[in-house]
Amino acid sequence: MEKTVNHKAWFLVLPVLVLVAFSAVIPLMTVVNYSVQDTFGQNQFFWAGLEWFRETLESERMWDALGRQLVFSGIILAIEVPLGILVALSMPRKGAWASICLVLMALPLLIPWNVVGTIWQIFGREDIGLLGYTLNALGVDYNYTQGFFAAWTTVIVMDVWHWTSLVALLAYAGLQSIPNAYYQAARIDQASRWAVFRHIELPKMQGVLMIAVLLRFMDSFMIYTEPFVVTGGGPGNATTFLSIDLVKMALGQFDLGPAAAFSLMYFLVILLVSYVFYTVMVNMEKREGK
């Protein structure tokens, strides 16, 4: 077929280009701009080259935050994924209770991040919080503003409370797509409950679980609001994750250069991890379709 050449068609793409430019490209370029310059105020900038990147990579503070971040993401994935599957398995498959369960499960997902933070911040307080007061009354030394362990536990439990539902809902959707004949055949074959899970349910949930892991990893890797509201990154630096550290650096200390270099590398790490996940997922689908 003959192609019609009409360069005016480019104008149709223009609104999108403008939108993307203002929402993503220009802000990102500003960050790039900051990352290679130094300033002493008065809007005067000096070329700094890759100095800030080198400094960030050599800073112990950044590596500590990254370490905490990875431990945090690892822990919440290790809890939320199995727990989510367990919840999905025990949810009713049909009837009124199924709908009720779905709504209940979706509730935490609808609460804004800072509200979740506030809820737990108050819930855990030892003077007026139900959880904090009860624990202390029971003789447990629980104070998330002072104890390292208490702070971590609070932040993790909060995240599990907030996001296990997401994994559960995704796993539930995967379970619902399994035809009844599979369960019937398994009963005829006298398969154990474990075998049904291992050979029927888990393979069918594989795809959605990958998505769940990816989403939860990305989200937890970028977590900011909830720990910021509850612990503010403390006690000390105990719960200072990457983004909390970044904000401290950029807005607290107004170190724009290092913060910009930091955020660019942060962005690249997330991009890289997403790409790896995406490739793995696409390959898995291909194998399945073969």
């Binding site: 004949a181 019937q184 009963r187 005829i188 194998r287 399945e288």
Partner: protein
């Protein structure tokens, strides 16, 4: 192997069934002889699968009892009944190899590995997948998957019964024939009780010693293919079996004569007074055209299907079919149809009525 008896069995999927319409399976009593091959035939949604699932224990009946060799198994779980069942939709365990799939039912029952290996090999030969035993079941074609399902059904030799729920729907036509022959020879060899659900009459008639015809949640007739053909017990059996199905004409019955719109049709026997709406049923095979006797018809179409011709006609507004042999000339002025009196069946309210005397058979 066992004789399976169903006593006053009925099932409803509703929690509190009221009227007979609420029952997917209306009350029935049925005996499945040990070692016979049965076909369960009926249109979609007539309760065939429900009946099958009740026998295998996947569904618990609302009422009635199931006996295996006289032992009440109504409450027994599927595992205890020792039944193999193959479903319409191919079920394979994707993460396992073909070999592991076939071995799965035996392994779950803790059988000896040497015995399992031998059985898997034998079954793989039967379904023609010996060279694919080592590959993963994921990614196989639908008919290969269904062959694995069939194989898993056949791998246990000591089962009480083998149940097939329309297992060949997804299989290629030539493979279908081959597998059906395999099943049949398997039946001859080991003598399992087999129940084969299908809505395809050819499949039912070629596979089974006895065909159980179901209609609207009811078993309407159990019989050999020949009985179903010659004496359909219900008008449904009449038109569901046969190609084309039985002709049915509203008629009034008086003694050994039927009157269709006032024109008389001789019957093979003498009938008493009948209640309800009466009809006569004649297979197209037992109808022939005539110039001067019988019922008036108007032929609308002639279809030549090779071995014979099918004449589509109307008789007092009712569509009927007449079978004419290949060489038979169809006279241009033939405007009447004659039925063979011995093969005219009488139905009252859709159920076959036996003649009071002078039986046609």
């Amino acid at each position: 192997m066992a004789r399976i008896t169903l006593e006053h069995l009925a099932h409803s999927y509703l929690p509190a069934p009221q009227s007979p319409e609420d029952y997917a399976l209306k009350e029935l009593n049925l005996d499945w002889e040990d070692g016979a091959a049965y076909a369960l035939l009926g249109a979609s949604g007539c309760g065939k699968s429900t009946l099958l699932n009740i026998i295998s224990g996947l569904v618990h009946p609302s009422r009635g009892r199931i006996l295996f060799d006289g032992v009440d198994m109504t409450a027994a779980p599927t595992a205890q009944r020792n039944i193999a069942q193959v479903f319409q939709f191919p079920v394979v365990y994707d993460t396992m190899t073909v070999r592991e799939n076939l071995a799965f039912p035996l392994r779950n029952r803790g059988r000896d590995p040497a015995y399992i290996a031998e059985r898997v090999q034998a079954v793989a030969r039967m379904i023609g997948m010996e060279d694919q035993l080592g590959r993963k079941a994921r990614g196989l074609t639908a008919d290969a998957k269904q062959k694995i399902s069939l194989g898993r059904g056949m791998v246990r030799r000591e089962v009480n019964a083998l149940l097939f729920d329309e297992p060949l729907t997804v299989i290629d036509p030539h493979m279908k024939w081959e597998l059906r022959t395999q099943l049949k020879s398997l039946h001859h060899e080991f003598g399992h009780t087999m129940i084969y659900v299908t809505h395809d009459q050819t499949e039912a008639l070629t596979f089974a010693d006895k065909v159980v015809v179901m209609h609207d949640g009811r078993v309407v007739q159990v019989g050999t293919p020949q009985e179903l053909f010659e004496r359909p017990a219900h008008t449904f059996v009449g038109y569901f079996i046969g190609s084309p199905g039985m002709n049915l004409l509203p008629a009034t019955i008086e003694g050994d004569r039927a009157y269709v719109n006032g024109t008389h049709v001789p019957l093979g026997g003498r009938y008493g007074a009948l209640a309800g709406s009466t009809r006569i049923g004649v297979r197209p095979e037992f109808a022939r055209l005539s110039r001067d006797e019988g019922l008036p018809v108007r032929i609308s179409r002639i279809e030549d299907v090779g071995r014979h011709k099918i004449l589509r006609a109307t008789c007092f507004g009712t569509e009927i079919n007449i079978l004419a042999s290949e060489g038979e000339a169809i006279p241009a002025d033939a405007a009447r149809v004659v039925f063979d009196p011995a093969n005219v069946n009488v139905y009252a309210d859709d159920w076959l009525v036996a003649p009071a005397q002078g039986s046609a058979a």
